[in-house]
């Protein structure tokens, strides 16, 4: 059961190798993985939209989609048909080629990062020895796509949204990478599979999140991930009440669907990566590995949607302040703490020193970042 999908693929390849030359079997092996991801990606997106709508409805005391299929399960299909048949509008002043390319380009990195996510034991499409960096690097290219879309639309709101989005992505990338460095320090490898394997102790429960630095890094990494996906409460690039719809204001029909798809795939992969780095990936007792992976990932996705249903949007300066003035120093301190953790000899000492240092620096950072609130508001012209 654990290696169900692995065996399926192996069986298929055995069957093919009975009548195909070896070269073709290699190509076929790659193709199988590619096709699996290409199906998984859009499928995930479709049902995440459904999931989100259902969940938000529950939070808001509504029922949500329930007309198409049982529990509205066919709603994504209906939406897809609607998207496909919608009129494709390109603004008159737009740069036509770039306007067309942008949504296409944005989907590519979103799909590419699936290749290094270990979905289960032996279920990473490619075990790159720089897997984690690959993930970060490829998802960093999303900024270019957003730039293309926002610039090509020739629309103020698009451009504003694009600017905001890029500023946000660039800012949050720094603490995101830095918060993951302790994990790499612990593993000694950048490969996602090795990171998961390093958490295999205690019957699959020795997750990095159970250490002080791991917990801090997990929270920061996850919040930065939420910001990287432009999701509430960090969704100022597409804040409906401020700049219409941000960088995809001028998109409709299938192109809009592509933007949407990229966003939801990012939500999935970021959650998957968080689970891989901190929650032991596919490690876990009793259940098959891939079940564990999807459980953890969907739990994290659920939390993201929960955020959306609960939290109000941040202001731009708050957003930047959070990244640069709080997350960045805290990740640096956390990195130091992680170094100490491996340096100190006894377990009690490790826990004590790490917790003390983290608590002190947390308090200190909170104190430093205390917003300026005048004790008494003075109105100059009021009598």
């Amino acid at each position: 059961m654990d290696s169900l999908f692995v065996n399926l693929k192996k069986g298929l390849l055995d069957f093919l190798s009975s009548f195909l030359p070896a070269d073709f079997v290699m190509i076929a092996s790659a193709l199988v993985s590619i096709i699996a991801i290409a199906i998984l990606g859009p499928f995930t997106m479709m049902y995440l939209t459904w999931f989100e709508r259902k969940l938000i409805s529950r939070i808001q005391n509504r029922i949500g989609p329930n007309r198409v299929g049982i529990f509205g399960l066919l709603q994504p299909l209906a939406d897809g048909v609607k998207m496909l048949t919608k009129e494709d509008i390109v603004p008159d002043g737009a740069d036509k080629v770039v306007h067309f390319l942008a949504p296409v380009v944005t989907v590519i990195p979103a799909l590419l990062v699936f290749s290094v996510v270990p979905f289960g034991r032996n279920m990473a499409a490619v075990d790159l020895n720089v897997g984690f960096l690959f993930f970060i690097a490829v998802s960093a290219t999303t900024t270019i796509a957003i730039f293309m879309g926002s610039w090509a639309s020739r629309n103020k709101f698009s451009l504003l949204g694009g600017m905001r989005s890029v500023a946000q992505l660039v800012s949050y990338e720094v603490p995101m990478v830095l918060s993951a460095v302790p994990v790499i320090l612990a593993t000694g490898s950048l490969s996602t599979v090795s990171i998961v394997e390093a958490q295999s102790g205690w019957h699959g429960l020795k997750w990095f999140v159970f250490t002080p630095w791991g917990l801090v890094a997990f929270v920061i990494f996850y919040l930065c991930g939420v910001a990287e996906c432009n999701r509430t409460p960090f969704d100022i690039p597409e804040g409906e009440s401020e700049i219409v719809a941000g960088f995809h204001t001028e998109y409709s029909g299938m192109k809009f669907a592509l933007w949407y798809m990229a966003e939801f795939m990012n939500v999935f992969t970021i959650s998957g990566l968080t689970a891989t780095l901190f929650l032991g990936g596919y490690q876990g007792p009793f259940l098959p590995s891939w079940v564990w992976f999807f459980t953890k990932t969907y739990a994290l996705v659920f939390v993201m949607m929960w955020f959306r249903g609960t939290l109000p949007r941040l202001r731009v300066d708050q957003l930047m302040g959070l990244a640069w003035k709080f997350f960045l120093p805290f990740t640096l301190i956390n990195l130091f703490v992680a170094g100490l953790w491996f340096f100190l000899p006894t377990r009690g000492l490790r826990v004590g020193v790490s917790l003390a240092l983290l608590a002190v620096s947390f308090g200190f950072l909170v104190w430093v970042n205390k917003p300026f609130v005048p004790e008494k508001r003075m109105y100059e012209f009021a009598e």
Binding site: F343, L344, P345, T346, L349, V368
Partner: protein, 641 residues
Amino acid sequence: MVKLAYLIPFFPLASFTTLIFFGKRLGPKSALVAIGASLLSLATAAPFVWGALGGETYAHSFEWLRLAGKPLLFGIWIDSLSAMMLFVVTSVGSLIIIYSVGYMHHDPRFPRFFAYLSLFMAAMLSLVLSPNFVMFYMSWELVGLCSYLLIGFWFEKDSAARASKKAFITTRIGDVALFLGILLLFFTTGTMELKNLKPEFLGAFAQHSRALTLAGILIFGGAVGKSAQFPLHVWLPDAMEGPTPVSALIHAATMVAAGVYLVARSFGLITMFPDSLTVIATIGSLTAFMAAFFGLTQTDIKRVLAYSTISQLGFMIAALGLKGYAAGTFHLMTHAFFKALLFLGAGSVIHGTGTQDIREMGGLLKKMPHTGLTFLIASLAIAGVPPLSGFWSKDEILVAAFESENRIFYYVLSATAAMTAFYMFRLVFLTFFGKPRKELHVHESPAVMTIPLWLLAIGSAVLGIPGSPWMNHFFQRFINGSIGGEAIEHAMNPFVMNVSVGLGLGGVLLAAVVYLLFPALATFFGKALKPLYLASYHKLWLDELYQATVIRAWYGLGGLLARFDLDVIDGAVNGAGAGTLRLSAIKNWIDVHIVDGLVNEVGAVTQAFSSLLRRIQTGLIQNYLFILFLGILVILFFEQR
């Protein structure tokens, strides 16, 4: 467990970085950070000191850099000697930092002061912990820097700024010697490790005995600078321009003792090649005697103490030079406590009275009971009155001197001990007894200052006991665990002990007679022994001598060079100029009438051409770049064939 020792200097360092960046924001709270850091260091150091008392040695090191195939190591090494220093630095340091809260209360750069103190603690602790000369030398320079910063802490005062420069430059001379010594040692034996300074290791290099003797003396040169030994002692009295806690911490208890520590560390090297021993013993006793002599007549309370410090450091150095390893290190520890106490007491007096001149004080004991009592305890300790700590350690040194080949050291040091008692009690009687000589608004210092005083007083009273026969010379056996060479074994010597008690009490009594009972005697003695009095008061004119010789020589050299510049070169230039002027007057006529006509024609032609050529100078960077590239292309073309 061993790696935990890295945290000892880390805490003050963290405090330093915090305070240097957030000191303004923390304001008065910054003292808490510094105190917390030093107390944490103390707590971290405690298990190591305890372990060292049990005879353990801790060592750990890692490679910092590899230059030309030689690894430069960082690390820690704690044996009994460094454990003792750890104890002294962390405990005395913490008390002094606490004390500074009261002393520096009104200073506008309050956080900055604690930042520097923390940096100093970090540097001093890493100096004590360092296992090799690389780290040792780095920390050594760092403590020097802190000393510079703290002496010049009130840099608005001209004298403080000058004193800080003087201290820095004077100690630099010793540092250069130390650096050369380290290099000489390294190139001779190929080691930087302090633990290799042992006969077992150095024995293999016996054929280089001359180089190693020189290395020993050069390394001792570092101690001469840092521990203010003759002839580089002149900076320490001036260093009293710094805040008093600084004087207590750096210029009495810890940093100046680093020189003694250095000599004790290289004890193996020195005793192995004993020519240097004579140098060390001579300089030590000379310094001890001379500084005590200067101390007799000073009127500034802190300067008396400064000379006393120099004198006591001379004692330690002399002890080490006479192979009294345990004696010197023991005195180092006891001295740290009572001298810090004396300085803090003096600080309290200055804080309470607002003056430093002992001629203006008097009768302070009633108004400042805590300060006065603790000061008295410390003075008794330094004067060598049993059973306070100073007695035991000084007695050890005198025994070492007594048993050495040359009795003269014993006589000199004994005389110094008597003088020490005399000038210390001169200070005590003038300050705390008698009648007030001037109307001063005296008040006792706050508890944050007096509590450290009392703690230090307890330390100065009892810390001699471990080295006494009552505890069967526990300290000596303990410290000899870290010894690098062979030291003399000395038994109790009742003769020396009785003489030293007699000399100490005699000095006290004499001071009492002169300054308490018959104050007129003081002026009488001053007149009767006028040459001696002046010699002491003017410190043998050593400062003037340096001014007249070394500094004047440099100035003179500079003046000579300037003169050469002005007279010879400028004269030549001026003469040439004058000659040229005359010549040009003649040529002028030729020029105007004959040449100019020609030149104007040439000019016209040149202008015509250059108005064409200047078009190359477009000011457009891309054109320049293109022409540059064409040049490269041409070079490539010719290179290719």
